[in-house]
């Protein structure tokens, strides 16, 4: 039996401040990425796509790991809060995965000469995108709240297997994609300090945007769940 009626939905009090902070951080990151960071000696200004491409990649991974954790939380406790977190994170994850692919494509054209190539990293990322689109499709086809949450949670747990495959595909297979630049095993970041700092600020700014969107989407889901329960009672 669902515990929604007895388990109150946690109220998030940071909502307005999170939005303001995320906006300020995004403005700062844009200025640093477009003006403050130096031009790359080899790629010129084209490389600046990195300040969108890497943070969106990070957020795609983060969002789907959150889906996984929230799915485990739902299966473990059956608290609707976890289902709201899972759906919010999945939707934002799909959005950022789409941006990740588009930004990568924009970067690939001047550097590789093509918008798209059958590279392991690109293909596995596209598969991850499709997998989470499937997750959202599954949710949209189920009407009963508890069944939908359980089905989606099972898929959310299983789909997480794809994330290490995406990240490590450039190490496992022959790839034209560059190897990890920041998160390198047994070595520091292979990046100029100023560029590294700009990238760090961009990652923080995008993460704050993710959190702001997450909180807003969860609030929408909370209202939807409340309506469902009202009708049921």
């Amino acid at each position: 039996m669902i515990k929604t009626t007895t388990a109150p939905f946690p109220t998030i009090r940071l909502r307005p401040w999170l939005g303001i902070t995320a906006t300020a951080a995004a403005i700062l990151a844009s200025w640093m990425g477009l003006v403050w960071a130096p031009t790359d000696a080899v790629q010129g200004d084209v490389y600046r796509v990195i300040y969108v491409h890497v943070p969106t990649a990070w957020l795609a991974y983060l969002a789907f790991v959150i889906v996984f954790l929230a799915s485990v939380g739902w299966l473990w406790t059956r608290r609707p809060w976890f289902d709201a977190l899972a759906v919010a994170s999945a939707e934002i994850g799909v959005l950022f995965t789409g941006l990740f692919i588009v930004a990568g494509s924009i970067w690939a054209k001047p550097t590789w000469g093509v918008w798209w190539t059958w590279d392991p990293r690109l293909v596995t990322t596209a598969i991850m995108f499709l997998m989470y689109l499937g997750y959202l499709l599954l949710r949209s086809l189920s009407t009963d709240f508890e069944r939908r949450a359980t089905r989606a949670a099972v898929l959310g747990v299983i789909a997480v297997v794809d994330i290490p495959i995406v990240h490590l595909s450039v190490l496992w297979m022959n790839s034209v994609h560059q190897l990890p630049t920041v998160a390198r095993i047994g070595a520091g970041p292979a990046l100029d300090a100023q560029m590294g700092m700009t990238l760090g600020v961009s990652v923080i700014a995008f993460t704050l945007v993710y959190l702001a969107l997450l909180v807003e989407r969860m609030e929408l889901e909370r209202r939807r769940q409340a309506r469902v329960l009202e009708v049921r009672s």
Partner: protein, 222 residues
């Protein structure tokens, strides 16, 4: 009754049901044969005989056959409400998952053997390493049911189930498809170490999804 015995009972029940009404097997055999034939015609005789193309066509045919067989198996259970009786038993959910995985694997082996023989005959394929090819084929077939049954269970009693199962399972099965295709192509061209490496990857893939399935899927069975 222990868990293994319960799972084997479900397997036996599935196999008896398929034997009594072999419509799933007949559809899968016809479908794979037709797909191999059509794709060979589409590629042309020269390209269709290339090891990687022949392997890719074969594995795509087997993949679709697995979805067909699983759909038929769950349809049968839903038609006569057998699924409710099985999951009502103690340990019934785990047994249902494991039993269906084993049964689907067994039926799929028949389909894959027939499709493989048909491909070899139709395309006049030269097999450099038959033993390696058998190993890759076995590992590739065994890797399919854990994922297909997981997605079939998740999509059980969902609207548009027939569309949802492939949409959910095919992205998950890409590593299986790549490894099985590359492994079979390696065995056909005589690259033994590569074929064994791909077979190892298939075994690891099977293990991951079988463990995940047994751990979590029973919670999703309604």
């Amino acid at each position: 009754m222990n868990a293994t015995r319960r799972a084997l009972l479900v397997t036996a029940r599935e196999l008896f049901a398929e034997r009594a009404q072999p419509d799933g097997l007949a559809a899968a055999l016809t479908f794979t044969g037709m797909l191999v034939l059509l794709e060979s015609l589409a590629f042309g005789p020269g390209r269709a005989r290339e090891a990687d193309v022949a392997s890719g066509v074969f594995w795509i045919a087997v993949l679709f056959a697995a979805v067909l067989l699983s759909a038929r198996s769950f349809d049968r259970d839903l038609e006569d409400d057998a699924i409710d009786a099985v999951i009502a038993l103690p340990g019934g959910r785990d047994a249902l998952y494991a039993g269906k995985v084993i049964a689907l694997g067994a039926i799929l082996l028949i389909v894959a053997a027939a499709a493989g023989l048909f491909s070899v005959f139709l395309l006049d394929l030269a097999i450099a390493l038959p033993g390696h090819l058998l190993l890759v084929a076995l590992a590739g077939v065994v890797a399919l049911p854990p994922v297909i049954v997981i997605t079939s269970v998740i999509a059980l009693r969902v609207r548009a189930r027939f569309a949802v199962v492939p949409i959910l399972s095919f992205p998950m099965l890409v590593p299986q498809l790549v490894a099985a295709t590359q492994g079979a192509a390696s065995a056909l061209t005589g690259d033994g170490p590569a074929a064994l490496a791909w077979a190892g990857l298939l075994a690891a893939f099977t293990l991951v999804y079988a463990v995940l399935g047994l751990t979590i899927v029973p919670a999703a069975i309604e």
